[in-house]
């Protein structure tokens, strides 16, 4: 028989205001196995933990139940407490009477009865708990960063700086991400390329960093410390080691109809291409869909032109297998498609553009050489209208329910830059709210209004249409309570952003959780913001939620610190709550092997002694280092042979019985 101690926490008033903790203490005392019960204001505090430790020693407790907050919050804390008092940490159970009880109920009597039931269930379970011992696993001292935007770049540089190897997988032909496309950056207005490209060069020069561009992650196996990843490096048809990035091929290539992705499709590019002058690696690639050689077998001009003999039309995709200890998601974002917003004429009129397109138009290396021109006739505009929140804060199904966070600031930036360079241009900004929290951010926005004379109008634009060769904006000024009809030459849409389309598939490969908007979920929104709930997976940049560059870089550094902390360890303690199979019950059906997401189950032929009958049987065997304790096999096993240590079928049934009593 166990000797169980029950510790009921008030959590200040969080629990005690809704649950009568003294009544819970009295009630659990009658449960079989309970030798001691008490309550305290803050069980997780130093004093609370002492109460637990002393009780364990004084009453020779063999197991404890803490009735408190979610085990996600403090299970680890109380396991340590128990261990310090000489108890096996797996003899601890948490009854969650906060999130599952006090926070969601109003009636004190009902909540108290529920808390008692939850406590009884935990006691029933501890009665069947057995001490478990953690195993050890090794750590591969190399990290993988998926995505080479500013987030991925900063994380990789910080990890490499600490002396660990790190690989970056980037799906595009160059690293740099969206920041490489920006012109100037708020709040300081320094040129984006000037602060980004030196970092890109550092990546290329760093001996600890290996870059896989034009590459994608195909498969991920394993677990924290021991991931095994398959990377597909797509054929560039240009040999990376030979290409010097001189760009001669681009000047000769006769196929000039590909949309220049780097310039948001505002102009065309050649089939053989280097996205921009400072690309890393500075190596060309051939877009096979546009290439005449691939389409007709004729041409081959680039091969003839290339003095470095770098062109290789026969290059094949390459598959690379690598081992990693940690993986960082840094897959960033895309602006949303605007096909559901036809009231703005975006797809119909060339002078209605997105903010990212404006960045390219304002950029010296962009399609207009940095001069603000209307794309329709390449003439100077006399008025520009900005519309904020296009597709953000939208629950109608057309857009995204969240605030994209960066648009207020970049719109103020755009408005200010235009007024600074072209004081003759009238600039109107339609907004719902101007949200500028951040250091020097509100000051920045006010400068746009006060120093640069940008007109901010509270209200939305109903529609944009063309009349007599110019654009007309029909909008509302909510403060004047007037409908406005304004002529304008250009309309710029501050378009909502969404996570990369690849995020969802990657997350399922990594068994990382993802929210309804496809942002990767952090382990705890406040206390563990750069970790995924899946051990060994970390988050950096906009893939976790909308962010500007300063925030992205801070998070990237934080993710790197967490990775370094992991790679610095020689051994990791493994979770002892793993599956094991009873070989006398196992019928060798292979069902469990099929469902195991970690490949932890194999079959061996083993001699068993079944009640005196000795025979060789094919039975399941669990590799404890690989098993993550997900339990999929235990529910699949038709003969009840598979069980999960710490969560045995008997334990779960005992809990259910206690609840249903």
């Amino acid at each position: 028989m166990q000797k169980i101690g029950v510790f009921v926490c008030w959590c200040g008033s969080n629990i005690a205001a809704t649950v009568d903790v003294a009544e819970v203490v009295q009630a659990v005392k009658t449960q079989p196995g309970v030798a001691f019960a008490t309550d305290y204001q803050y069980m997780c505090s130093e004093a609370g933990q002492s109460i637990i430790k002393n009780a364990i020693k004084e009453h020779d407790l063999t197991g404890i139940v803490v009735c408190s907050c979610s085990p996600r919050m403090h299970e680890a804390t109380f396991r340590k407490t128990a261990q310090a008092a000489g108890l096996n940490p797996y003899m601890v159970e948490i009854a969650n009477i906060r999130e599952h009880c006090s926070w969601i109920h109003k009636d004190k009597n009902e909540a108290t009865q529920k808390a008692i039931i939850l406590a009884n269930a935990a006691v029933a379970k501890v009665n069947l708990n057995a001490p478990l011992v953690q195993g050890e696993s090794s750590v591969t001292k190399r990290a993988l960063v998926i995505g080479g935007g500013i987030a991925g770049i900063q994380t990789a540089l910080d990890i490499a700086e600490a002396g660990y190897e790190v690989d970056i997988v980037e799906k595009e032909p160059t690293i740099g991400g969206k920041m490489a496309q920006l012109d100037k950056t708020f709040p300081t207005l320094d040129c984006s390329a000037c602060i980004l490209t030196p970092k890109m060069v550092d990546v290329a020069a760093n001996e600890n960093i290996t870059l896989y561009t034009y590459s994608e992650v195909e498969q991920v196996k394993g677990f924290v410390g021991n991931f095994s990843v398959t990377i597909k490096k797509k054929a560039r048809y240009v040999k990376e080691d030979l290409c010097t990035g001189c760009g001669e091929c681009m000047s000769k290539c006769p196929s000039k109809k590909g949309k220049d992705e780097f310039n948001c499709g505002l102009n065309n590019r050649t089939a053989i291409n280097i996205p921009f002058a400072q690309a890393i690696p500075n190596v060309a690639y051939i877009d096979a869909e546009q290439c005449i050689k691939f389409k007709t077998g004729k041409c081959g001009l680039c091969e003839k032109t290339c003095s470095a003999n770098a062109i290789d039309y026969n290059q094949k995709d390459e598959i690379i297998e690598r081992e990693y200890g940690a993986i960082v998601m840094a897959t960033g974002y895309e602006p949303i498609k605007l096909d559901k917003f036809d009231e703005y004429q975006y797809s119909k009129h060339p002078d209605v553009i997105t903010s990212l397109e404006l960045e390219r138009i304002m950029n010296a290396a962009g399609p207009t050489g940095g001069t603000l021109l209307k794309m329709s006739d390449k003439e100077h505009p006399h008025s520009v209208t900005f519309i904020q929140c296009v597709g953000s804060r939208d629950i109608s199904g057309r857009g995204k329910p969240y605030c994209s966070k960066i648009c207020c600031m970049y719109t103020a930036k755009h408005a200010m830059l235009i007024r600074d360079k072209y004081p003759d241009v009238e600039v109107n900004v339609f907004y719902i709210d101007v949200r500028t929290p951040g250091k020097n951010f509100d000051e920045f926005y006010r400068r746009a209004v006060e120093e640069y004379g940008v007109n901010y109008i509270k209200g939305q634009v109903g529609k944009v249409y063309e009349k007599d060769g110019h654009l007309v904006v029909q909008a509302v000024d909510l403060i004047a309570n007037k409908q406005l009809v304004l002529d304008t030459d250009m309309v710029v849409l501050a378009t909502a952003i969404e996570p990369s389309k690849t995020a969802r598939d990657l997350a399922s490969m990594l068994t990382a959780s993802i929210d309804t908007n496809d942002f990767i979920t952090e382990a705890h929104p406040k206390l563990r913001p750069v970790e995924s709930p899946t051990a060994g997976i970390f988050l950096s940049g906009v893939c976790q939620g909308p962010k500007d560059i300063p925030e992205t870089v801070s998070q990237a550094g934080a993710a790197a610190a967490k990775v370094i902390g992991l790679l610095a360890k020689d051994k990791l303690l493994t979770n002892p709550c793993v599956a094991h199979s009873d070989e006398l019950l196992c019928n060798g059906c292979s069902q469990c092997e099929k469902v195991c997401p970690y490949g932890a189950i194999s079959y061996i032929d083993k001699e068993v002694n079944d009640h005196g009958v000795r025979e060789t049987r094919r039975v399941a065997q669990v590799n404890e280092a690989l098993c993550q304790g997900c339990g999929a096999c235990t529910v699949t096993c038709p003969s009840g042979a598979m069980d999960l240590k710490g969560f045995t079928n008997r334990q779960i049934m005992a809990e259910v019985d206690a609840i249903c009593k």
Partner: protein, 130 residues
């Protein structure tokens, strides 16, 4: 916020199936509305007035009969508020009131116009005298 009549507000929300509290005051409805200039209260305002329970002002407003029911606001509201359905609920509320000065059959001949469709004449019975 002054709750003139929360009960009335709930009634309108109920009848229209619209939760006006979802409105974030962006003004998209009023920016879109083709009848804006003829209204005394504009679409975003009547949404807010329902939330505040100021139903009486709306019931006697011009806007109620100026809304074209074109549903442009319903189509474009980013919060799914459906302002035109609020208008419709307000109209219905007014029409359902008992003992008011509805047009009577005797009034009709005087108002007849040979261009009026039959349907309009019938529906005139449900309307008030101006």
């Amino acid at each position: 916020m002054v709750h003139k009549s929360l009960e009335q507000a709930c009634l309108i929300m109920d009848r229209s199936g619209v939760d006006t509290r979802k409105c974030m005051m962006c003004g998209k409805c009023s920016a879109t509305c083709p009848a804006f200039d003829e209204m005394d209260y504009h679409p975003h305002q009547f949404v807010k007035m329902v939330t505040e329970g100021d139903i009486e002002s709306l019931l006697s407003s011009k806007s109620l009969w100026k809304c074209l029911s074109c549903f442009a606001c319903v189509e474009r509201c980013p919060r799914g508020v459906e302002p035109a359905n609020v208008v419709e609920a307000l109209r219905v509320t007014l029409l359902r009131r008992q003992g008011e000065n509805y047009i009577t059959a005797d009034d009709i001949p005087g108002l007849l116009d040979d261009k009026l469709p039959q349907q309009a004449i019938v529906s005139a019975f449900r309307k008030y005298k101006k």
